[in-house]
């Protein structure tokens, strides 16, 4: 079953000189796949990931998420689809520094109608799943980089998404923490989660099912 499907995606950044970040990119991601995207800086990896994550809109082409065409969705519907279907893991973790681990994991659920008690209980379970049950009340400033990224992984799972988008999740980590995070992502993938990961590291990409190489806005 296809989770994400792109047809001739084009993204042009307007300016003094227009820049074509994506040039008729077509790809399809199946459920349960672990796909890595590689390529030099400025090749369009992050732009593609932002469009796949409904954070940005393409200039042309079509993107279907779980079979839903996204081009004409209103901002409210795009937000809801993003909230319910996609989990993000960022290179710089992007945790809220003043919130506790539990509150950080709970954050995506705060934008749903779930009851508060249920949200906190699920956040606790997810923290346990990434091995941080004893750090529930700590803030990100009291955690190591690897632990922060684990919190980010748990947060990405909060709303039970069908797709996880990871933008260089090991980019800010040492090798030990990188291995741990990769193992965690593999474990999630083994559990049926679809993951798309941008990386610069060929060794990490080698551990995924499929690697997409990009250059100058095109898949090569």
């Amino acid at each position: 079953m296809v989770i994400a499907e792109c047809k001739n995606l084009i993204k042009i950044y307007s300016g003094a000189q227009d820049f074509r970040a994506l040039d008729e990119v077509s790809l399809s991601i199946n459920q349960g796949e672990f796909v890595s995207i590689m390529g030099p800086s400025g090749c369009g990896k992050s732009t593609l990931l932002n469009i796949l994550g409904l954070l940005d809109e393409p200039t042309g082409g079509e993107y279907l998420l779980n079979g839903t065409p996204t081009a004409k969705l209103s901002d409210a519907k795009r937000t809801r689809l993003r909230r319910d279907s996609i989990g993000f893991i960022f290179q710089s973790f992007n945790l809220m520094p003043k919130l506790s681990v539990q509150e950080n994991i709970a954050l995506p659920m705060r934008y749903t109608q779930r009851p508060r008690a249920e949200i906190l209980e699920r956040a606790r379970q997810l923290a346990a799943r990434v091995g941080l049950e004893d750090k529930l009340l700590n803030t990100p400033l009291q955690l190591s980089g690897g632990q922060c990224q684990r919190v980010a992984c748990a947060r990405a799972l909060a709303n039970e998404p069908s797709l996880i988008l990871a933008d260089e999740p090991t980019g800010n980590l040492d090798s030990k923490a990188s291995t741990d995070i990769l193992a965690l992502l593999k474990e999630l993938n083994d559990g049926g989660m679809t993951i798309i990961m941008v990386t610069h590291d060929p060794k990490i990409a080698a551990g995924t099912h499929r690697t997409i190489h990009m250059k100058d806005g095109k898949i090569v």
Binding site: N50, G53, L55, D56, D75, A76, T79, R80, R82, R83, D84, F88, F90, N94, M96, K98, L107, P108, R110, Y111, T112, R116, R155, N159
Partner: protein, 423 residues
């Protein structure tokens, strides 16, 4: 995002930046203090004047003549007034120099400040805010020039302003005030300036009861009432002088007939004392309205100052909200990526600004309350209405809401991808 989450997020941000928050709500607090003070004083003035009107009687007109009036003149004048009018006379006040209180008080003691008036029984028809113990002056007393007296008794515990100003000095206790407060004098004999009277009535004004009269009609020194005719009889040397004015008070019962009564009053006095008699008529309703107008005029300036402070506070909140959004652009991006809608972001900043406004309102009301206690002229009867508190809070919150709307909308409009890139 649910309201409790919005509130806790907003409060956490305010608490995390205490100094910035304090500075931004300070101007709001000043504005609210001004509003709170102005509204409290204004509502108090309105409430008081409403009560004043209710005890004053409808269609009330007063004047003063330099001549003493007789009982036949009373009947004659009453017949010329509109139907069902109440007419009463009061002599000028006569100061008590010394007195004996049924041998309990030593002869020759200075009783500075006590005043004796001669009145007709109808004097109690209006402005009668007392609880009467015993009886008031009656027509029999007037016709027979009885040596009876009714005393005002000050409550034992009078709430007085802690801070005393030099202009409060005439409000100090006099020996008579002390004595009548602490001794029950009903049915006892008192000798005042060598005239002996029987105390037939005591007029109490309980401290918990508001004195609804206009301040100029209240007694700040002990006041004693004797029959109108007795006064002229026992103090003849005083009344023979051609400067013993008589206060005349008419209450018609209807505002529409007050002018008619005034005309009748002037006509009668001229017919009795010649065309040179030019009585100055005081229409009570006009006096009350004038008072209200004065109160409104002086408070309008305060309200204007409050408005300026509120606008300054609003601009402060707008400025802070814009700065907050600028410094939290990345956070907005993260929240949008995690599922926050534009509405969630909009509400988050609006709730935060409104919480700041609420803090400003609370601080402002404390300041306003202190201002009322220390600056208002008459605080003894001041009560703080719930609507003044509610209105102050509402003004602060609405101001914060309106001024935060634009920056919050700008934040909500941010594209998640652009906000996330922001460092």
């Amino acid at each position: 995002m649910k309201l409790p989450d919005l509130l806790s997020t907003g409060w956490a941000e305010i608490w995390a930046h205490k100094m910035r928050s304090f500075l931004s709500f300070f101007a709001i607090a000043i504005g609210i203090a001004t509003f709170f003070y102005t509204l409290s004083v204004l509502s108090q003035a309105y409430r008081h004047l409403q009560k004043t009107s209710s005890v004053a009687g409808a269609g009330r007109v007063e004047t003063t003549t330099r001549h003493p009036l007789t009982l036949p003149q009373y009947k004659d004048l009453l017949a010329r007034l509109p139907e069902n009018s109440s007419l009463s006379f009061r002599t000028d006040d006569h100061f008590v120099q010394e007195g004996t209180w049924n041998s309990l008080y030593h002869r020759g003691t200075q009783l500075v400040g006590a005043r004796i008036y001669g009145v007709l029984p109808t004097w109690q028809d209006v402005d009668f805010v007392y609880e009467l113990e015993g009886r008031f002056i009656n027509w029999k007393d007037v016709e027979n020039k009885h040596q009876v007296i009714v005393l005002t008794v000050f409550p034992r515990e009078v709430k007085e302003r802690k801070t005393r100003f030099w202009w409060d000095q005439d409000n100090k206790n006099t020996p008579v005030k002390d004595y009548t407060t602490h001794h029950h004098l009903l049915n006892q004999q008192v000798t005042l300036n060598d005239q002996t009277f029987t105390v037939v009535g005591l007029l109490h004004l309980p401290p918990e009861r508001q004195d609804a009269r206009l301040p100029q009609n209240r007694e700040f020194v002990p006041t004693m009432y004797i029959p109108y005719t007795t006064w002229h009889h026992v103090y003849p040397s005083f009344s023979e002088e051609n400067n013993t004015p008589t206060d005349i008070r008419v209450v018609t019962g209807k505002e529409s007939t007050a002018r008619l009564a005034g005309k009748a009053l002037t006509g009668y006095l001229r017919s009795q004392f010649g065309p040179d008699e030019k009585p100055e008529l005081n229409f009570f309703r006009e006096k009350v309205e004038e008072k209200l107008k004065d109160a409104r005029k002086s408070l309008n300036n305060m309200l204007f100052m409050g408005l300026i402070a509120m606008i300054a506070g609003g601009i402060g909140i707008m400025n802070v909200t814009m700065a907050v959004i600028f410094s939290r652009t990345k956070e907005i991006g993260i929240r949008r990526a995690l599922g926050a809608s534009r509405q969630d972001i909009l509400f988050q900043f609006l709730v935060e600004a409104m919480l700041l406004g609420l803090c400003g309102a609370c601080a402002g009301m404390v300041l306003g309350y202190m201002a009322v206690l220390h600056l208002a002229e008459d605080t003894s009867q001041m009560t703080f209405s719930w609507w003044v508190i509610a209105l102050s809070v509402l003004i602060a919150i609405v101001t914060s809401f309106l001024f935060a709307l634009y920056p919050a909308w700008q934040a909500a409009k941010l594209k998640p991808v652009d906000a996330l890139k922001y460092e």
